[in-house]
């Protein structure tokens, strides 16, 4: 039991270091915050215009803006782990990293979480403040709490998935195009800008087969009026995806190590 605690404390240390480091790279954070202002402003205008067009899209413009704020918060909180891994591989630091008495993926994931811890609260504050500024309305606190709770799990899941994409770099080096495709699929099937329930049925069915809606649309849907995605279902699905991702990452990592030792890096 002691050894486990010891191991855990190592990862915590990585997380804390990453969190402090995150405090120093401010310019990127400010850029993200400015982006929130712009995108929420544009969309609040868009949803109002849509309402004007007279045709109901089964959702109130104000809550749609909060919906977008939530999905964007989740999306922007997850660090781009694949870039770190790609860089480490390119620089050849990998041998050094693998040699440490710490699981490389564990450490990287911990670093990612530390990074999240330092940015996510600020991003949430910005997102929700902007949403309030543009709509003059705040969702019921229970809804917001649900968004934050499920959103946090979603962010962790997304971070782990970014890590998995990064691991692909062990085989093909340049994973940026892979990431782009992944990200676009996430935008579309995760309902980044438009709640999934407004999609054509065929697309909704497709989306349900992927983790995407559970990462973005699910947690964000609590701010929409009407029936939110059943919390119980979301919990189960998120848990399922978390388990699956952990298994995937472990398996990929084992194979990556073998690929590395066989090819000599």
């Amino acid at each position: 039991m002691n050894r486990r605690l010891m191991a855990l404390s190592k990862y915590v240390a990585f997380a804390r270091l990453s969190a402090t480091h995150g405090r120093y790279d401010r310019s990127e954070l400010y850029g993200r915050m400015a982006f929130f202002v712009v995108i929420l402003g544009v969309f609040s205008s868009l949803w109002r215009a849509t309402r004007e067009a007279g045709l109901a899209i089964a959702a109130d413009p104000k809550s749609l803006v909060w919906y977008l704020a939530s999905t964007e918060w989740i999306l922007l909180s997850a660090p781009l782990m694949h870039v770190d891994i790609q860089e480490t591989l390119r620089r050849g630091d990998v041998a050094y990293e693998l040699g440490r008495p710490v699981s490389y993926v564990g450490a990287t994931f911990a670093r990612g979480l530390g990074f999240v811890a330092s940015r996510s609260p600020l991003l949430a504050a910005t997102a929700f403040l902007c949403a309030f500024a543009f709509t003059g309305w705040v969702p019921p606190w229970r809804a917001l709490a649900a968004v934050v709770l499920f959103g946090s799990i979603a962010i962790a899941l997304l971070t782990a998935l970014h890590l998995a994409i990064g691991l692909v770099a062990f085989w093909i080096g340049e994973v940026t195009p892979v990431f782009w495709v992944w990200q676009k699929l996430l935008f579309v099937f995760g309902g980044l800008m438009l709640p999934i329930r407004l999609y054509p049925p065929v697309m909704q069915r497709l989306a349900a087969l992927t983790p995407f809606p559970d990462i973005l649309a699910g947690p964000a849907s609590f701010v929409l009026d009407g029936e939110a995605v059943a919390a119980r279902v979301l919990v189960v699905r998120l848990a399922m995806w978390c388990v699956a991702t952990t298994a995937l990452v472990q398996w990929m990592y084992a194979r990556a190590r073998r690929a590395l030792t066989v090819n000599g890096g």
Binding site: S27, G31, F35, V42, L46, P177, W180, V188, L194, Y199
Partner: protein, 264 residues
């Protein structure tokens, strides 16, 4: 010696060399093109889904969005293919890479922006042309007018990048902010302008020239207006001149060595 003619030949040679370098790695080139095209189409999916339910928003229909997207994509693609170095201008300035250019005859700005080319620009151009075709709003007679409008839009886009990244001459370490400002030009240009209120609209015609990159050329494509085309091309010329002047000023500062503590 005809400096201007030589500059044109040099620029052409630079572009040709860039293209050759991009094509050396066929696989990587193809991936960049395909994925950028995919990137643009998925972005467009949102509008497609939305407009199935709400066919018209403040006078804009799906075909109008297609046209707007298509034009912006081609303009941006053109800019980053031909003047791919704009994106790296801040880096060049901060890391002293302009030194190598200052020792050579060609005009430094031209050389700097032409030194790189992003293959993904071809993906932008291809997807843009497809979207324009899909919109069905451009007929063969319209083509010359639309081409001019797109080129002007590309020039405005490139010039705005030069302006943002040139701030590095004075402030250093401004690369991240400059890049985000430049990306804002694209972001804003992709949304129909009826969404924007008075003050914002003014900003989009000046500080963040998204209106010249998206709205104006799209408008010119839809309504054959010679006046608007003239206005757009004048704006493009204006931005270019501004960019060149700012860069020259910055270069003078660079040559005075005012970059903090860089000496040896």
């Amino acid at each position: 010696m005809h400096p201007r003619r030589n500059s044109i030949r040099f620029a052409a040679a630079l572009l040709a060399t860039n293209l050759k370098a991009s094509l050396m790695l066929r696989g990587a080139f193809a991936m960049q093109v395909i994925f950028m095209a995919l990137n643009n189409f998925t972005f467009f999916v949102f509008w497609w889904v939305l407009m199935r339910r709400v066919p018209e928003i403040r006078g804009w229909r799906l075909t109008d969005i297609e046209l707007l997207f298509g034009i912006v994509a081609v303009a941006v693609g053109l800019a980053i293919t031909v003047a791919g170095g704009v994106r790296y201008l801040g880096q060049f300035i901060e890391q002293g890479e302009l030194d190598t250019l200052l020792v050579q005859p060609p005009p430094v700005l031209l050389h700097a922006v032409g030194m790189r080319s992003q293959s993904s620009g071809f993906g932008d151009m291809v997807s843009g042309l497809i979207l324009i075709a899909l919109s069905g709003q451009v007929s063969w007679i319209d083509t010359p007018r639309v081409v001019v409008a797109i080129v002007a839009a590309a020039l405005v886009f490139a010039a705005s990048g030069i302006l943002f990244f040139s701030v590095a001459f004075w402030l250093g370490k401004s690369d991240t902010v400059a890049r985000q400002m430049w990306e804002l030009v694209i972001t804003f240009s992709l949304y129909p302008e009826p969404l924007f209120g008075g003050v914002l609209r003014l900003v989009l015609f000046t500080l963040i020239p998204a209106a010249w990159v998206g709205y104006m050329p799209a408008h010119i494509a839809r309504h054959a207006s010679a006046d608007q085309l003239l206005l757009l091309t004048s704006a493009a010329a204006g931005y270019l001149v501004l960019a060149a002047v700012m860069f020259q000023r910055g270069l003078r500062r660079y040559a005075s060595g005012s970059r903090f503590g860089v000496f040896g």
